[in-house]
Subunit: 258 residues, 2 copies
DNA sequence: ATTTCTAGACTGAACATTCAGTCAGGACTC
DNA sequence: GAGTCCTGACTGAATGTTCAGTCTAGAAAT
């Protein structure tokens, strides 16, 4: 995004491989892993792609999106920069896809974890925790800075922008469905889920900024508690910092929003 | 921030002019405008500085911090790129100072406007409006994207980071003092101002992100209303979207924060 | 008043570097 | 031996920075 000519944004989404010279391995543009030539399945090419995507993410976190060079990524894996271009036609493509990849992985992990929890309150809590608390999983590691760069890119790169728009949408959808589920189960008060989702997602974004920038007065834990306090108060369920969420004894329902 | 070698961050704050060759005009590093040589005052040099700072801000908004070239800034004013670094030793210095300059101007404007309003509620409302609503003043124009870039830079540039930390601090201080003033005047409920400030500033940041990225479901006006609704509900004062803030007839005070 | 001097403001033309992307070909595998 | 995977060496373009010198206006000298 910082190279040649004005508006150096990559062409539209899944522009396939080049025409002449090269011999590109695998076209992105979708989850289909066309293992050409080699029978059996994914193989090297796909592994490499993932490796590069992951490395790209790492580097972006360290140097920032704008200062990430393909040489950094190559070096990290111990390959030549040329190979990076061999897999991803352009730098933009790689970085853009890396972000998309991260977003996808993150979202998938959210779903996975939430599905394992029994109550809406617990799910909501886990959701918030995944947003604000450091995570064990190295794949999704607490890359808060990534989100900031993500936003900045989305501001000018239409491709990234659409990823981010979709991201935010399912984001809020998750919240809405959690709230609705909780309300139907009698766990939560009957506030407007849509409104709540917008509010909460903005709040989470804002807290993410503070945390990412290591604000002296907003560490992850206190941000988490602040956020959960708000949620519990508004949805009217019992919650205390030390433990995990508890469903209130007496189900509330149909209560007017605040 | 994207040039030579690793860690290409500018040296500490007010590194003065070079030693040998040139004859640099005016050293930054503080609000002192040392109008050397020419008696009377500021003069050309200072005007130029301001001009460049403003141009830099414009360009940053358009192209993004990372893609801003000194040539862009020079071109906009109709001068040679060389003159830009004649005034600011390095690109980094210019951009960093531009952000600092903007932040200062913005904060000053906030103070100016708030001072003119009679009630704490109105002041709070104006404060929120300045954060979320498009502004007439071209100097401070609605440069939401600027904040995103600001954050991203703060993440890696210690110099910018300290600006941003200070920024956020006085930010919250404004909120706290507004709340306290309102509480003392009996306009607001007696919640914890500090906590409220942290919450509100995060919320504002988050909404800023959504607005800056032109989220389809969070336009400035609805963000503003969402935010004001929260504030009014929490501080317990009367507020309705169409008009301006009104102090509640019966002063509330000392009420427990939810 | 004219000339001389000087310093600050400014620029065009290099310079130096960085970096994405190309290319010709090598190794490895089926 | 054909295709896949991979690399070292290179190039072209962009761009921050330097530099030598111009231009202007006021100060000092005449």
């Amino acid at each position: 995004m910082s190279d040649h000519g004005p508006g150096g944004l990559a062409a539209g989404g899944g522009a396939p491989a080049q025409a002449g010279a090269g011999r590109p391995p695998d076209v992105p543009g979708g989850p289909h892993g066309g293992s050409r030539g080699v029978p059996g399945g994914a193989t090297v090419a796909e592994a490499r792609r993932g490796q590069m995507l992951r490395a790209a993410l790492d580097v972006i976190c360290e140097r920032g999106f704008a200062d990430t060079r393909i040489a950094d990524i190559a070096e990290r894996i111990g390959i030549s920069p040329a190979l990076v271009i061999y897999y991803f036609k352009t730098k933009d493509q790689l970085l853009t896809e890396a972000i998309r990849h991260y977003e996808d992985a993150w979202y998938a992990e959210v779903r996975r974890r939430l599905d394992e929890l029994p109550t809406a309150a617990l799910r909501l809590e886990e959701f918030v925790a995944m947003n604000l608390l450091p995570d064990g999983d190295p794949e999704l590691a607490s890359n808060w800075l990534l989100w900031l760069d993500f936003w900045v890119q989305a501001a000018r790169n239409p491709d990234v922008a659409s990823v981010r728009r979709k991201s935010d949408e399912r984001w809020r959808d998750v919240i809405v469905s959690l709230v609705v589920a909780g309300q139907e189960a009698g766990e939560f008060a009957g506030i407007d889920p849509q409104r709540f989702a917008i509010f909460l997602s903005a709040l989470l974004d804002g807290l993410t900024v503070q945390i990412a920038l290591e604000d002296p007065v907003v560490d992850p834990v206190s941000a988490f508690e602040l956020c959960m306090r708000y949620i519990a108060d508004n949805l009217r369920f019992d919650w205390n910092p030390s433990g995990r969420a508890h469903v209130t004894g007496t189900p509330v329902r149909g209560q007017p929003g605040r």
